[in-house]
């Protein structure tokens, strides 16, 4: 029973990393300047690396010869349980940076707690990931500040991105049955406990960036239960194309 729950818990963490990694990789050569192309690729690579660790672990828990690639490339939309924020389209640079900032702040706090997990694998992955995420958060929060306090145009764009993406942030702190059980067993993280700190990081950065925090209204959730925005299906059909079109091939 626990193994099945642990599998689902780890799988969700893998999905979060995989989907945001895939989104970031769409920037490839499209950044505002070369140094930023390199930074975005770096973050994308870190996220795929993390996805690989979580999904490999999930595959071991699943057994039956499952592999990380199978989990990434052969599941359908409803079987993906990433947070909806991760799958939101790149939009403009401000949209991408705001999405990243919200996630980085969450990931940093989440991973700090996951290090204490009773599950050695999860703790090890968290220890490796926290270093990367600390850098990611520095990168994204600096951009929020630069864009917020840059020009009138950049201020308007980043504020609009914040307003549009805000409704996906509540979901990060929700707990379902799996989370409850994992918390009870000291394997998982109680996300309700990190909300206060997340709010603090967000408020500090937004205030320095001269940006305002939206009110909570129409907050959406459902990702952990496989309910997504329509964007996810397109992301998957692109990402999974070769594995689906040539099921017998080895790459």
């Amino acid at each position: 029973m626990t193994k099945e729950l642990l599998y689902k818990y780890v799988l969700a963490l893998g999905d979060d990393a995989l989907i945001i990694g895939q989104r970031l990789s769409q920037w490839a050569y499209k950044g505002p300047f070369l140094e930023e192309d390199i930074a975005l690729s770096n973050i994308s690579l870190d996220m795929f690396g993390r996805a690989n660790l979580f999904l490999e672990y999930a595959a071991t828990l699943k057994g039956d010869g499952a592999t990380a690639d199978e989990l990434a490339f052969k599941r359908n939309e409803r079987e993906f349980c990433n947070h909806i924020l991760c799958e939101q389209p790149n939009g403009n640079f401000a949209d991408t940076m705001v999405r990243q900032f919200f996630l980085d702040a969450f990931n940093k706090l989440f991973l700090q707690k996951l290090i204490e997990s009773k599950d050695e694998q999860l703790s090890a992955i968290a220890q490796k990931s926290i270093k990367e995420t600390t850098y990611h958060l520095r990168h994204s929060s600096k951009w929020i500040i630069r864009l917020g306090d840059g020009t009138a145009e950049s201020h308007a764009k980043v504020q609009s991105a914040i307003n549009n993406l805000w409704m996906f942030t509540d979901e990060l702190f929700e707990s379902n049955k799996i989370d409850h059980e994992m918390v009870k067993q000291k394997i998982g993280v109680d996300c309700s406990l990190i909300k206060v700190e997340w709010d603090k990081i967000i408020d500090e950065v937004l205030s320095e960036a001269t940006l305002s925090r939206p009110e909570n209204s129409n907050m959406l959730s459902g990702g952990r239960a496989g309910i997504h925005t329509e964007h996810l299906g397109h992301l998957l059909s692109d990402m999974q194309y070769l594995q689906r079109a040539y099921p017998d091939a080895k790459w």
Binding site: Q22, S25, Q26, A28, Y29, K30, G31, P32, F33, L34, E35, E36, D37, I38, S41, N42, S44, L45, F48, G49, A51, N52, L55, A68, D69, A72, F73, N92, F93, I145, R146, L147, D149, G150, T151, E153, S154, K157, D238, M239, Y241, L242, Q243, Y246, D248, A249, K250, W251
Partner: protein, 312 residues
């Protein structure tokens, strides 16, 4: 005075010393280098596009990570090479403008489309393979910053070539469909890869000064031959056939003889009529324009904070 300088300059080159940015150099040497190094930088940058075309569709987590890392390396190479060019007294903005206006060229090979995943293998194996041959030779080039950039770039390129060869090998030995994709990619990329070394020596307008100044260390034809000799064996090893009926080992020269290169196609593509010329430049322009407000914001913020205004 200038005549003396020129003698000293040539003596330095002849004795194998490097020319550094602050050293005196003939204007034509400077111009030749700006043209060559920036063309090289632009090739790295435009080269990100055909490969970037497959990043989101890479068929495994590992393949995806390797490809992202490779495209990222190319951005890095572009950066060092732009910096090396800047030491010659031109700015990155000017260089980008030359690329976008068509005044500066980039390697024509990147005007061919990447149609299947095997093309990513073919680019790594053949295009990077050809680039390495050229770049290994350029490690000995006379201009210090260019030579040092090449030493660093060569290390990463050999990893790229292995990555490409690995994809081709897996595909050639995979399902019949995969094998077919691999052979098809080789068929399409082989001749353009040979063209990467540039026209035959007899027809190359830039070769003679470049050799005298040791900017170039070996001729186009010699480097092309080296590449062919290396690559034929690699193709055999993974069961792929080089698409050249005239290709055969010549025991006298100890090199492979090969068929005629279609220089008409080469010049067509160089002159803008390849499959993707317009698209590659338009993509570059649109990303650059789209990023304008971001660069402006970063600049505005930097100016504010440097003046200490942020604490008002």
């Amino acid at each position: 005075m200038s005549a003396d300088n020129e003698i000293i300059f040539q003596k330095k080159i002849d004795s194998g010393l490097k020319i550094e940015p602050k050293d005196w150099m003939p204007d034509k040497y400077r111009k030749h280098l700006i043209r060559q190094i920036s063309q090289h930088a632009h090739s790295e940058i435009i080269g990100m596009q055909p490969e970037g075309n497959w990043i989101t569709r890479a068929p495994s987590l590992r393949a995806k990570m390797v490809l992202i890392a490779k495209v990222q390396d190319e951005a890095g190479h572009g950066l060092y090479l732009y910096s090396a060019t800047e030491t010659l007294g031109i700015t990155r903005n000017e260089l980008i403008e030359q690329l976008q206006s068509g005044k500066a060229k980039y390697s024509s090979i990147f005007n061919y489309p990447t149609l299947t995943w095997a093309d990513i293998g073919a680019i790594g194996w053949l295009v990077d393979g050809a680039a390495i041959v050229n770049q290994q030779s350029l490690r000995g080039t006379s201009f210090g910053p260019y030579s040092r950039a090449m030493v660093r770039i060569c290390k990463e390129e050999s990893f790229h070539q292995r990555q490409g060869y690995e994809i081709m090998s897996k595909m050639s030995n995979g399902t019949p469909e995969q094998h077919e994709m691999a052979q098809d990619a080789l068929n399409r990329w082989w001749w353009p890869s040979l063209m990467m070394f540039g026209p035959h020596d007899a027809d190359s307008s830039h070769t003679s000064n470049a050799m005298k100044w040791k900017i170039k260390r070996e001729t186009n034809d010699d480097l092309r031959q080296l590449f062919i000799d290396r690559t034929v064996k690699q193709a055999d090893l993974i069961g792929l056939e080089i698409p050249d009926p005239d290709l055969k080992w010549n025991p006298e020269t100890k090199h492979y003889d090969f068929g005629k290169i279609d220089w008409e196609e080469f010049w067509e593509v160089v002159n803008g009529n390849g499959f993707c010329n317009k698209e590659r430049i338009n993509n570059h322009i649109s990303s650059h324009e789209e990023g304008q407000w971001v660069r402006e914001a970063a600049l505005a913020y930097a100016e504010k904070t440097q003046n200490g205004v942020e604490n008002e």
